[in-house]
């Protein structure tokens, strides 16, 4: 497997194929005297902003801390990854994760109140 080609920036789906963001970052753990270990996948605005520019990252981080919900990117342990074919499939229930915080908030506070949105 080629981490950058087959995993980074791919679509993340949960065990029911529900879309839950993209792989915005990959965390590798360095251990003294042992080979590096693939630890987490990250998803969320802060992870994405960090890749673009450090200052953008600081802004997004500050915004998220003030008004937002997930100031730290949502980290998925590599052990939860089931498949890295077309999409990266994760063994979780998307609705129960912070990855869909904003989706849930919009659904319950905005979309639901527009006629036809229930």
């Amino acid at each position: 497997m080629h981490l950058i080609r087959d995993v980074l920036d791919n679509q993340l789906v949960d065990r029911n194929q529900r879309k839950m963001g993209k792989v915005d970052g990959i965390v590798i753990e360095l251990r003294p005297g042992q080979p590096p270990r693939l630890a987490y996948l990250e998803t969320g605005a802060t992870a994405l902003a960090r890749r673009l520019h450090p200052r953008l990252y600081q802004w997004i981080f500050a915004l998220e801390r003030r008004w937002g919900k997930c100031e730290l990117p949502y980290r998925i342990p590599w052990a939860k990854v089931r498949d890295t074919g077309i999409d990266v499939e994760i063994d979780v229930e998307a609705e129960q994760t912070p990855a869909l915080d904003y989706e849930r908030w919009l659904r319950n506070h905005v979309i639901k109140h527009i006629p036809g949105g229930k």
Partner: protein, 404 residues
């Protein structure tokens, strides 16, 4: 549904959906200012667009990725962020122009000032997206678009000079006013090779659940649909050249363009023009709005799909809701729809390279298209279009200043 029926429907909707505010404005301006001379630009743009649309459909059918998905995956977010932001900005201006086109049509029909129409039109677009399905948007609205075939009927009534027509299929330089001529040529190409078409078409292929068995349908719809569709654009140019140019009318506003069908059809020609303009722009406005929601949602991995209930794709539906209403601001503050159209078409030309270059890589990458890679002809066309896109991107803004 049988494949033949799908091909037929695809072609009909491509013809009905071909015209938009940009194609009408640039073709009418070209015909009224330079006669048949700029026909070659429509033909050239159509050839490029046929190849690129076929590729976006093939990419989606084989790899199950939309163009936006594939570009982010293959090139990384740090690249994709540029075409993404550029496309959202251009979509915003184009959407403003399309809404403006519908408002002008309603003003022509009712006499009520176009600014009063902006919000009702945006509401109608939003309501269709909110309640409708992809099939309704794609097929229903484009069927009404067949009214634009009035421009093709008009050619037969006007009997243009055939030798002059065929001669103008080859590029030539005019005797005077070269910057304006080149500016219109760039705008025509910008209006035809519009990036939103590729993102939209590949998203549509995924919405319609295309797989490898649809490659034939895709090829037929892309080539015949776009090919026949361009005849409507050619119709607008020829009618403008036959009716407006001899009278010395250049298209400075849509009201002047509205006269072009009155010679072949009399009073009803005026109505036909307004209805064609309104429906063509309304259909395009729906597509541009949806396209923006598609590319943002796909860039960030959100749930997306016009067939989903808004509650299943809350962020996706919020994007188009906010987008369609904010684009009306461009009309409400009193920007002239025709100027807005020409400006956004030139800007489209500027962002074109960032959208076209990825085709060259994606369509030759086995990981995405497997055995259905580009042949040398398709690659040749992409390379040519890329060079063309770079040239257009560089000359568009200077020409806008000197020739627009």
């Amino acid at each position: 549904m049988s494949k033949i029926l799908e091909i037929f429907l695809g072609i009909v909707t491509s013809i009905g959906g071909f015209l938009d505010v940009g194609a009408i404005a640039t073709s009418a301006e070209a015909g009224s200012s330079f006669g048949f001379h700029l026909l070659w630009a429509i033909v050239l743009g159509t050839i490029c667009v046929i190849f690129l649309v076929e590729m976006s459909g093939r990419l989606a059918a084989v790899s199950q990725h939309t163009l936006a998905d594939a570009v982010r995956e293959r090139f990384g977010f740090n690249f994709y962020v540029f075409p993404l932001i550029a496309e959202v900005i251009v979509d915003f201006l184009v959407l403003g122009a399309e809404i403006g086109g519908v408002c002008i049509a309603l003003q022509l029909l009712t006499g009520i000032d176009l600014r009063w129409w902006a919000l009702p039109v945006a509401f109608a677009i939003w309501l269709l997206l909110w309640k409708g399905t992809f099939g309704l948007i794609e097929n229903g609205i484009s069927l009404f678009g067949l009214v634009t075939l009035a421009f093709v009927v008009a050619i037969f009534k006007l009997r243009p000079d055939l030798p002059a027509l065929t001669q103008s299929l080859l590029p030539s330089l005019p005797h005077q006013d070269t910057p304006h001529y080149l500016f219109i040529a760039v705008s025509i190409l910008g209006a035809l090779i519009s990036p939103y078409l590729f993102y939209f078409y590949s998203s549509g292929a995924v919405e319609d659940k295309w797989d490898k068995s649809y490659l034939g349908v895709n090829r037929a719809v892309a080539s015949l649909g776009m090919g026949f569709g361009s005849i409507v654009s050619i119709g607008v140019l020829i009618v403008a050249a036959q009716v407006l140019q001899p009278r010395g009318i250049t298209v400075d506003s849509y009201e002047q363009a509205a006269l072009m069908l009155t010679q072949p059809f009399g009073y009803w020609g005026f109505i036909l023009f307004a209805v064609s303009l309104g429906i063509a722009c309304f259909g395009a406005a729906l597509e541009v709005t949806l396209d923006t929601a598609y590319i943002v949602a796909q860039a960030l991995g959100w749930n997306w799909g016009e067939n989903l209930h808004p509650r299943e794709a809350a962020r996706f539906s919020s994007i188009y809701t906010v987008f369609v209403f904010s684009a009306t601001v461009l009309i409400l503050i009193g920007l002239d729809p025709l100027q807005l159209t020409l400006f956004s078409m030139a800007l489209t030309a500027v962002i074109l390279p960032t959208v076209i270059v990825p085709f060259l890589v994606l369509m030759n990458d086995r990981k995405y298209v497997g055995d259905h890679k580009n042949g040398w002809i398709s690659n040749g066309v992409v390379v040519f279009t890329t060079i063309l896109a770079f040239v257009l991107a560089i000359v568009a803004i200077p020409l806008e200043i000197f020739g627009g």
